[in-house]
Symmetry: C2
Subunit: 357 residues, 2 copies
């Protein structure tokens, strides 16, 4: 942003203030020079039930890449970013949960502008009070994955996310080292479960251990043999966080009767539901944006974030932030997205925003 633009934006009689945002207008691969562009756009105004947040950090998720790849060219400038922390600077006429000055964090809604900008509006029901005692970068790493992990545990697997609420149960987590897996391991341990997760690289193994995993299986080796080796030929619950089709035969083989299976990874081919038919076992998708997309039970996401904030403050769980880039810029968004798109990343990549002029 040029000095002149900054000056113009600060001009007090400017009736429609602008903000810096990083986005795109066409779906390009990461090595294209203009995959992301910086623009000055109108600062959004909160609708009746929305809060306006001045952002201080955001994180990149696989969903950003999926949305960029699926972008329908219509000439609009699209702002992504679905992990945010910031301060409420204005509230809509019907907002009841937050006040100006509140520090908040949220994932937001897929059908709205994201957090790769100086300001963002978000429906108050999707928002949680930010935990104290953590840096903005540590907080920004958490919302999307925490909501997803909470929905896996509560809505798909049927537990309350409370201390020892699943004591004695076993869960197999396919890919525990990613963003969702890192939170899921910690929450499952808090709930009293035995946590078995896959990981292969030494750094990933060390990471899932630090999250609390009880058993770590090498996904390059025979997973069933490894499960038998640790006396878990069958498990109560399974969370598929990578490649549903590849792991489906294992999953249907090792799920206990009346066990539950959750997946967040779309299938690339039809899957055989037959093995589940007569054993009372259940398979559920979890897609955290469905609630906001269809306006269903959105308040549960604010509640989940408040619960997570409390666990973070009590140090029962810890932030999964592993990398911080300083400054909201095209280059940093490209770097962070590259790390996510390369896959097998550990924890979360966060962009911390510089103080604006």
């Amino acid at each position: 942003m040029s000095f002149l633009e900054k000056l113009k934006n600060l001009w007090p009689f400017n009736s429609s203030p602008k903000m810096k945002a990083i986005g795109f207008e066409q779906a390009l691969p990461l090595d294209a020079p203009n995959v992301f562009i910086e623009k000055m756009v109108a600062r959004p105004k909160p609708a009746a039930k929305e809060v306006l947040v001045k952002l201080s950090a955001s994180a990149v998720n696989p969903v950003d890449t999926k949305m960029r790849a699926g972008y329908q060219l219509d000439g609009t400038f699209r702002i992504l970013g679905f992990d945010a922390v910031g301060t409420v600077v204005a509230v809509g006429t019907e907002v009841s949960l937050f006040s100006v000055g509140d520090k908040v964090y949220y994932a937001g809604a897929q059908n709205k502008s994201g957090a790769n900008a100086e300001y963002q509006v978000v429906h108050e029901q999707l928002v949680g009070h930010a935990p104290t005692g953590l840096t903005d970068a540590e907080i920004a790493a958490m919302p999307l994955t925490s909501i997803t992990a909470s929905e896996i545990l509560h809505e798909a697997l049927g537990y309350e996310v409370k201390k020892n609420s699943a004591a004695g149960k076993s869960i197999l987590i396919i890919n525990g080292a990613g963003g969702v897996g890192s939170v899921l391991i910690q929450l499952a341990k808090y709930m009293g479960m035995t946590v078995i997760t896959t990981a292969s690289k030494p750094a990933s193994i060390a990471w899932v251990k630090s999250m609390g995993a009880d058993y770590i299986l090498d996904y390059h080796q025979d997973l069933y043999a490894q499960l038998c080796g640790i006396q878990y030929e069958q498990v109560d619950d399974i969370a598929i966080l990578q490649d549903t089709n590849t792991y489906w035969p294992l999953v249907t083989k090792v799920i206990k009767p009346f066990g539950r299976i959750a997946s967040i990874v779309e299938t690339t081919a039809p899957i055989d539901m037959g093995p589940l038919k007569n054993i009372g076992a259940q398979f559920s998708w979890v897609f955290m944006f469905a609630k906001a997309n269809y306006g269903v039970n959105m308040a549960s996401q604010g509640e989940a974030l408040n619960n997570i904030a409390s666990l973070l403050e009590q140090q029962i769980i810890k932030s999964t932030m592993t990398t911080t880039l300083l400054g909201l810029s095209v280059n940093n968004l490209k770097r962070a997205t590259t790390m996510v798109e390369e896959g097998h990343s550990i924890g979360k990549v966060v962009i911390e925003y510089e103080e604006q002029l």
Copy 2:
């Protein structure tokens, strides 16, 4: 049974009384002369938590045929029949729910001997008190299908089976005229739902109307066009009671976001779960024998039967019995099974047992 056998069985000093049973020792098609055989076998004795029931009627279900077809030859005499009404004549040492003389009805357990016999033992948790004011044949038609319909509504679709508990919701029932469908229509109406069901033959259409269906779609015509025609392009809930694979594209097209789908019919090929991923919709199998097979939550089936008995007594729902054959015999079991195996049968076929000598 010869007169001599009957006499021997009645002999008061006989320490191990026998009973008549109809069963089979090898999996044969219905047109084989010995598909079913009659035998005198030892009258079973109740285990600690079992009741011994003197049976007065039973019904035939598609599961009998599936089990006969899947029979593993091991030389044992297998007794089927998973709908029963009768009177408790003995109780195990730990039975607390029933007393000798109680009239009961139940589906029983797939891994135990069935009801095609004079006597049967059954775990007390699987048993309900028989409704008053109905004939034995009317009662015998109900247990398996009522439990299945209750589990569809409660466990798969997430409702309580109570008056108006699903008011304002719409359900599409694929094949409402069969045994499960006939109960499901009635319960869904009681719960306040709008019931849309498929049927084609005039007799089936008349039958599902008499069960309370609001809209009847012809499955030989374009079902989606018919749904649009009645302003139900989308529905809240779907129960698949026939040919899951054939109806799957329609089902995933018309289910509402966050809607629920249940099926009781095994898939013959993998199904595409992809369309459900991002809409928060859920698919669940229902297989009523899973609980008894794995000893999980069996008491819920006795409770479901007691609830159904109450609804039958209040004439809120009615028995789905359509045909009664008199006498427990090879011929009658063959006739009843033929009617079920021909498919497209309306309601239930019951065998009422004659008074024994």
